[in-house]
């Protein structure tokens, strides 16, 4: 029969997405590397005989693979691997927490702007446009210079400069979804506006939101490295991947390994999250194909 040739096995949407995601090898590799980095910085420090802030002035600038220090020591004789792992805890947590805050702000702003439209929507979205006029690094540094630097402020400031893209995505989604039958039906049932926004519309926009969230982690890790490298983020003696590079430039000639390890760690983490986001985009919504 002719129809038999066209029949396909119907997959559940989740299953189909997983199949598409599995085909994206770089995204899989990214997920794996993220897992290794997270596990490494969570449990790694317990396996090392060195403390990340222990200063051993007799063993300054030990090159990698010399003796017990696998990645060598820095200008104060601290173990680079131990600092890399503790720095990973800081950098990765900032990436994830800043993403959560940025998503929350972006989703709320985007949902309100997209749902109400009109004057409310115009004001909110022009605010988004205005914040986007400031080059991120300039805005971040200006704000960081005005506040006391530290873990909490750095996280909040990164979130404050990263929520706009999410707001734009959510606004566009909510604006188009609110005309759909299920939203109209919810309205006919007498659901409140808030309920329709956050129980009906936002969950239906979850695919682009998840993609934006993943890319946002990558951006936040990158931003943390910039502000900390420039001296306005995480302050020593605490380590972060960014501030480990802060002093590396001075010792570039004599101790280049100080610059290599944290730089590779940042690049690995950011690339992995970017590839993961790319793979999720292909998997969750094949129609979306923004470069």
């Amino acid at each position: 029969m002719a129809t038999a040739a066209f029949s396909t096995v119907q997959l559940a949407p989740g299953q189909a997405a997983w199949r598409r995601f599995r085909r994206h090898r770089l995204a899989l590799a990214g997920a794996l590397i993220i897992l290794v980095l997270v596990l490494g910085s969570t449990f790694g420090p317990y396996l090392l005989p060195f403390d990340d802030t222990y200063i051993d002035i007799m063993k300054r600038f030990a090159p990698p693979l010399s003796g017990a220090h696998i990645l060598g020591t820095d200008e104060l004789g601290r173990d680079v691997l131990a600092r890399l792992m503790m720095g990973g805890r800081v950098s990765l947590s900032i990436g994830i927490v800043a993403m959560v805050i940025a998503m929350a702000v972006g989703i709320v702003v985007g949902a309100f702007a997209g749902f109400y439209g009109g004057a409310v929507g115009a004001v909110l979205m022009r605010l988004v446009d205005a914040v986007l006029c400031f080059p991120t690094i300039f805005l971040l540094l200006a704000l960081a210079a005005l506040t006391e630097p530290g873990l909490v402020t750095t996280t909040i400031l990164i979130a404050a400069t990263a929520w706009m893209a999410v707001a734009r995505v959510v606004e566009a989604q909510v604006r188009s979804l609110r005309e759909r039958e299920f939203a109209v039906a919810a309205l006919a049932f007498g659901s409140s506006n808030l309920r329709i926004m956050f129980r009906e519309l936002v969950p239906n926009a979850i695919a682009p939101i998840v993609v934006a969230a993943t890319l946002n982690v990558a951006k936040a890790i990158l931003l943390e490295s910039y502000v900390s490298y420039l001296g306005y983020g995480i302050q020593p003696p605490a380590a972060s991947w960014g501030n480990m590079l802060n002093n590396a430039q001075i010792y570039l000639t004599s101790a280049p390994w100080l610059a290599i390890a944290p730089g590779v760690a940042i690049t690995l983490a950011v690339t992995s999250f970017n590839f993961l986001g790319d793979g999720l985009r292909d998997a969750l919504d094949p129609r979306m194909n923004i470069p």
């Binding site: 605010l127 205005a130 690094i137 300039f138 420039l230 590079l245 570039l252 000639t253 970017n274």
Partner: protein, 316 residues
């Protein structure tokens, strides 16, 4: 057309007002607000502080202060640097040239290289070149610019000794060649991210165009392939790149700040960081507002230019 420009101009002015509002809010977020410069000095009594507050008009309602501040910004009075009392706008303009030099060079490299990679990738979709370019672009977008700068210094200055590790001139040598020699490394570093962006946008724009009906028509007419590509495909695929140039501008400015820091390039970004270090808030605020305004003007120009070359935009 005139209506589109007027519309777009009105939007830009409205945005400028919001942008200035954000700038004003940040200024007042500073510890001690605009008074912070005096608050740190222990010789100032509360009485002195009150007097200065009155003199600077800081006891007036915030909206009045904002209007006053905005009016002075528009007239070009951006305040004076705490460091040497020089007018903020003239401090900025004396550093602007070096930054524009760096940005222009990086953009030229990025546009040429990025468009070439993007076009080739689109024409040979899923080839080895395309795959490598796509993966390479993603990695380029993920490398911290300052770290790439450090690697560049290590390889080309420390190990090979080909390029200077920083500054704009060798002391006592003002020649153009010397400037060019110093420009290569920072421009290359700044161009990395830009090239990746241009390549990605160019690839998707080209892919969209070569699947259009008029390309098929041109092929059906028996037009030679090179002519189809250059006359029909490329001309149309390059149009959206005008928008990309506008979109890329904030990233380019931010990247310039980082590249200038690593290579001690005496531009606006470097000035910004120095001013932050000195807590020189008028200059910090000035540069922040200046860069936002530049971005605003950049996107306005890109939109208008796009409407000039592509009449379809004006209608929408």
């Amino acid at each position: 057309m005139a209506r589109y420009v007027v519309n777009r101009l009105a939007q830009a002015i409205m945005l400028l007002v919001i942008v200035s509002g954000i700038g004003f809010a940040i200024l007042h977020l500073a510890p001690g607000g605009p008074l912070s410069q005096f608050a740190v000095s222990s010789q100032m009594t509360q009485e002195d502080l009150d007097r200065v507050t009155r003199q600077l008009g800081l006891d007036r309602p915030l909206p009045v202060q904002y209007l006053d501040w905005f009016g002075r910004m528009v007239r070009g009075d951006w305040g004076k640097s705490y460091r040497d009392g020089e007018a903020v706008l003239s401090v900025i303009s004396s550093h602007l040239g070096a930054t524009l030099e760096l940005m222009a060079t990086a953009t030229i490299i990025a546009v040429l290289l990025g468009c070439w990679i993007g076009i080739l990738g689109a024409l040979r979709r899923y080839s080895l070149f395309d795959t490598l370019a796509t993966v390479g672009a993603m990695i380029a977008l993920s490398i911290p610019t300052f770290w790439f700068g450090l690697v560049t210094i290590y390889v080309f200055s420390v190990k090979l000794g080909w390029l200077p590790a920083g500054n704009r001139h060798t002391i006592g040598d003002g020649s153009f060649l010397d400037l060019l020699h110093h420009l290569i490394a920072p421009a290359m570093v700044l161009a990395l991210v830009e090239t990746a962006m241009w390549g990605r946008f160019m690839r998707s724009s080209m892919l969209e165009v070569i699947n259009q009906d008029y390309i098929r028509t041109a092929r059906a007419k028996g037009m030679p392939e090179w002519r189809i590509l250059t006359v029909h495909a490329l001309r149309n695929a390059l149009l959206p790149m005008i928008t990309v140039a506008g979109l890329q501008f904030p990233t380019l400015l931010g990247g310039a700040l980082v590249a200038e820091t690593v290579f001690t390039w005496p531009g606006m970004g470097r000035l910004f960081l120095d001013s932050i270090g000195y807590r020189d808030y008028p200059v910090v605020m000035g540069i922040l507002m200046f860069s936002a305004t530049m971005v605003l003007i950049g996107s306005l120009l890109a939109d208008i230019l796009y409407a000039v070359v592509d009449p379809r935009i004006r209608v929408g």
